[in-house]
Each structure stands twice: as structure tokens, then as C-alpha cells.
């Protein structure tokens, strides 16, 4: 009798264990599928962005020649004229001007942080520079409108200009350039540096002839990343660049960027005009992908050099 009860209990016990483990394995399997689906979401979003932008943008080219879209200087949406050359030039002009100031400054600052600055200075320096990343672009725009634009007005024009936009952009891309350049300077094996110093090179000669050449690919990719950020910036540009559709001939001239063109007009655009704005987005998208692949390529080649 007792044996029977024990036997019963054992069977019961086994059943519970089995049930529990079944639930365990079921939840394991469900979890596996769920996280896989989560993983796929990013891919689906990218796909959806590509499809939607193409679907809304490409119909433009059944009406407007792609060449005249890219190379015509006339942007008059109400009269069916869609040429984005002024915006392409505006974007490139502002970006190059910003890089012209930001690259020397950023690289100098990266050398400062990785080689020259005392530890105490570094500790306060880095968080402050990183704050630049977090400041909203509209705050940059506001400071630009209140300080930089009136200052540039002294030199002629309205002050809302390519130069003002470039100065604002410079501050925005500086942290990107500094942190990636600093990382690549620090990644140079210390044996190289010790070798150079042992040969009697001064600290500066070591930096100039050894560290910078070895870290070059990292610095170049930092510049390209900064360029990507600059081309994509929207709100701060709208606030200080003036937004008039002209080809800027001087830094004091007003201009419009590709991003600004989209943001300013999309809310009230319809029909072909709307298509043209999405097509502007395609141009921007392609530009960014090209820049990014360039950065990847430079970084990959850099790795090979360091390994050797």
C-alpha cells in the first residue's frame, strides 16, 4: 500500500517536472523567435525608408529630366521648375568651409588631449567637449542668430550667410573629429613612439613624423564622419543660412542646403513639388552612403597598415 502511494507520488512528480520543463523549453523557443524578429526590425525600417523615399521621389523623373533636376539652377515649384543645383552647392560649400576650420582645430585638439595635456586638464576637458554633442541643434542655431549673424552683418549682407552656417557647423562637428582622431592617435602602438624617442627625435618630431602618418587613416575617417554630420544637419542651418535659393558666390551670401530645402517646404508641398522634395532626399541619402562607404574603406585600409 505504502509502496503504491510512493509510486503514485513519483509519477506525479515526474509529470510536474516534465510539464515545467516543457514550459521552459517552449518559452525558450518563443524567446528565440521574438528576439530574431526584433533583430529584423532595423532591416525592415531601412528597407521601408528606401522604398518609401523611392516611391515618392522617383515619379518626378517621369516629368522632369534627371539631369535638369541635378544641374538646373531654377527652383520654382509653382511653375514646375525643379533644379537643385543651388542647394547641392550650398550644402557642399557650407560643409567644406566648416571642415576648413574644424579639421585643423580638431586635430590639434586631439594631439593636445592624447599627447600634450596634463591629466588634470584632460579630466575636465573631455566631458566639456562631449557636452557639445548633446546641445540641441536649435540652441546652436539660436546662438548663431544672436551672436554670429549680427557679427557677420558688419562685413556686409544680411549676416544670414554661408559663413555664419559654417561657423555654427564647425562647433557641431568638432567633437566627432576630436574623439575619433584622438582614439586613432592613442591606438598607435607605444613601441613605435619609444623607438622614435630613443633615436633622439623630439616629442613634436615623433608626433609629426610618426604618430600622425600612422594614425592618418583614422583621422581621415574622422573627417569623413564629420562631413556626414555636416551634410545631414538641418535645423541649425535653416536658422542661420537665410534659405534663399541662390548659388552662393561669396561666404557672405545667403544660401540653402539640401536638408533645409526638404524641411522648409515639405509641410505644404503636393504633387510634383512633393515628389521633388523626396527626390532631394534621395540625393542626400546617396551622398551620405557614399561618404560612409568612403569612411569604412579608409578605416579598413588603415587596419592593414597597422598590422604590417
Amino acid at each position: 500500500m505504502i509502496k503504491e502511494i510512493e509510486h503514485e507520488a513519483e509519477i506525479q512528480n515526474k509529470r510536474t517536472v516534465k510539464r515545467q520543463s516543457k514550459a521552459r523549453f517552449l518559452s525558450d523557443r518563443i524567446a528565440r523567435y521574438l528576439v530574431f524578429i526584433d533583430g529584423m526590425v532595423s532591416f525592415l525600417i531601412l528597407l521601408a525608408i528606401a522604398v518609401f523615399t523611392a516611391q515618392e521621389g522617383l515619379p518626378l523623373f517621369s516629368q522632369v529630366n534627371i539631369m535638369s533636376f541635378l544641374f538646373s539652377t531654377e527652383w520654382r515649384p509653382t511653375q514646375g521648375e525643379f533644379g537643385i543645383l543651388p542647394m547641392i552647392i550650398g550644402s557642399i560649400y557650407v560643409t567644406l568651409l566648416a571642415l576648413f576650420i574644424a579639421v585643423p582645430l580638431g586635430v590639434a585638439c586631439a594631439i593636445f588631449l592624447s599627447e600634450v595635456a596634463p591629466l588634470a586638464v584632460q579630466r575636465y576637458f573631455r566631458p566639456l567637449v562631449q557636452l557639445l554633442v548633446g546641445i540641441p541643434s536649435v540652441v546652436y542655431g539660436l546662438v548663431g542668430m544672436v551672436i554670429i549673424v549680427p557679427f557677420i552683418r558688419e562685413f556686409g549682407g544680411s549676416g544670414y550667410s554661408v559663413l555664419a552656417a559654417a561657423i555654427v557647423l564647425m562647433a557641431m562637428i568638432l567633437p566627432t573629429i576630436i574623439s575619433i582622431s584622438e582614439d586613432s592617435l592613442r591606438a598607435v602602438p607605444s613601441a613605435y613612439k619609444q623607438g622614435a624617442l630613443a633615436l633622439g627625435a623630439t616629442h613634436w618630431q615623433t608626433i609629426w613624423h610618426l604618430l600622425i602618418p600612422v594614425a592618418r587613416s583614422g583621422i581621415i575617417s574622422a573627417v569623413i564622419r564629420g562631413m556626414g554630420r555636416a551634410v545631414g544637419e538641418t535645423m541649425a542651418m535653416i536658422m542661420v543660412i537665410g534659405n534663399s535659393v541662390v548659388i552662393p558666390l561669396s561666404p557672405l551670401s545667403s544660401a540653402r542646403t539640401l536638408t533645409g530645402n526638404i524641411a522648409v517646404e515639405i509641410q505644404y508641398a503636393s504633387g510634383l513639388h512633393r515628389n521633388a522634395l523626396f527626390a532631394t532626399g534621395i540625393v542626400l541619402f546617396v551622398l551620405i552612403i557614399v561618404l560612409n562607404s568612403l569612411a569604412m574603406l579608409v578605416l579598413k585600409r588603415g587596419e592593414v597598415v597597422v598590422e604590417r
Partner: protein, 280 residues
Amino acid sequence: MNARNTQKIAWFFIWAGGFITILIPISIIGYVLMRGLPSVSLDFLLTPPEGGLSGEGGISTVIVTTIYLIVVTLIILTPLGIGAAIYLAEYAGDSWITRTIRYAIDTLASVPSIIFGLFGFALFVTALHFRFSILSGALALVCLLLPTLIRTAEQAMTTVPRSQREAALALGATKWQTVSHAVLPTAMPGIVTGIILCIGRAVEETAVLYVTLGGSAAMPTSLFSGGRTLSLHLFYLAMETNAFEKSMATGAILIIIVIIINSLTDWLASRFHAKMTGGT
């Protein structure tokens, strides 16, 4: 010119570069706080803005919209982001599917925000008829922020020592039990850092919301009401009104939020680092 003098000149320029660079954040933050803080008062925080071309009023509805938008964004974003990170860190091998997903995340991370705005405008605002609303804005923000969260969460999980997983598996835990009971709790501070980072980016983001949120100054009543966040409010004030005092005050509040978020992530990151390296 001998090498020592060259070095002296080089040092001068490098110190100058460092000095100029550090002046930029100090002067921007100092200027906005000095010009803006005097106009920040309890009254400013608690009155609604008048909207339209008038820059008068406070920012009460704007604060509510900002919080509303961030909460909705996080509700959608967190499970998606953490799930994807779990997949990449724990389940994914090196297959073409995984490589495609990683490529998609990298590409998404470099897409300029106005493109997310365009996409959100086309899909959520017009095609799905969500109109200019908190829902449209939140969904577009989710797309924008997903790569950031996935990357930080994945990184946090990969720093969890292998031995911890092996111990759980050896005790008979299933893969999922290992992940949810052994990996996630340890990686939590890193994941929280990622979430706070996303909140920061949601606060600063303007381009996406400019084309999906509408910009109404009224108090949001549902997911489908439009609105404006702090950044967006600042933009409207600066571009459409003459209320520079008010926009500076809004800017000052934004800067304070950014400083708080930055210190919070720094603190969490250092704590996580200490935890992973065995310190206290």
C-alpha cells in the same frame, strides 16, 4: 630653425587649439544660461504658450508634450531595441542574415535625421493617416533611435563575462533563462545608459519632429494630438516671433537637461565599468 624651437612653436599652436576648443562649449553654455535663466520662473514653467506668431506665455504644454512623446517613444523603442541587442549578442552566429542586420543598423545610424522625418511624414502622417501627432512623432523617433539603443545594449551584454553564462547553462538553465536571469541583470546599468542616451537624443531632436509633430501649442489630449517639444518650441520662437527672451529661457532649460543627462550617463557608465572590472 632647430628642433627644439620648432617644438616650442608647435606646442604653442596645440595649446591654442585646445584653448579655443574648450572656449566653445563654455561660451555657448555660459551665454545661453546667462541670457536665459533670468526669464525662467515658476510662472514660465506653468503657463501655456500662446502659440502662433505671439511668443508670449510659458512652456507648460510644451513640457507635457515632450514628456508624453518620450514616454510613448520609449514604450515602443525599449522592447525592440533590447530584443534586437539580445539577438545580436546572444543568438546570432556569423551568417548572412546577421551580417545584413548589422549592415542595416550601421547604415540607419548614419542616415541624416531629416530623411527619417521624410519617411515618417510619408508613412505615418500621410499613408497611415496618423496626421501630425504624438504617435507619428514617436514612431519616427523610434526609427531614428533604434540603432543607438541596439548598439549600446549589445555592447553592455558582450562585456558580461562568458563564465557567467556557462555557470547558468551548467545549472541546467535554458538559453533564454540564462539570458534573462544571468546576462540581462548584469548588463542592466549599460542598457539603462543606452536608454538615457536615447532620451537625450529625443530631447535634442528637432528635424524629425518638425515634419511629424505639427507644432500645435495646445495641451495634448491623446496620441493623435499634435504638439511641440522644447526644441521645436525654441525653433518656432526663434524663427516666427521676436520673443528672444523666451527662446533663450527655453534654451537654458534644454541646456540644463543636457547637462543632467550627460552627468547621469557618465556616472552610470563609470559604475558599470567598475562593476565589470571587479571594483566596487
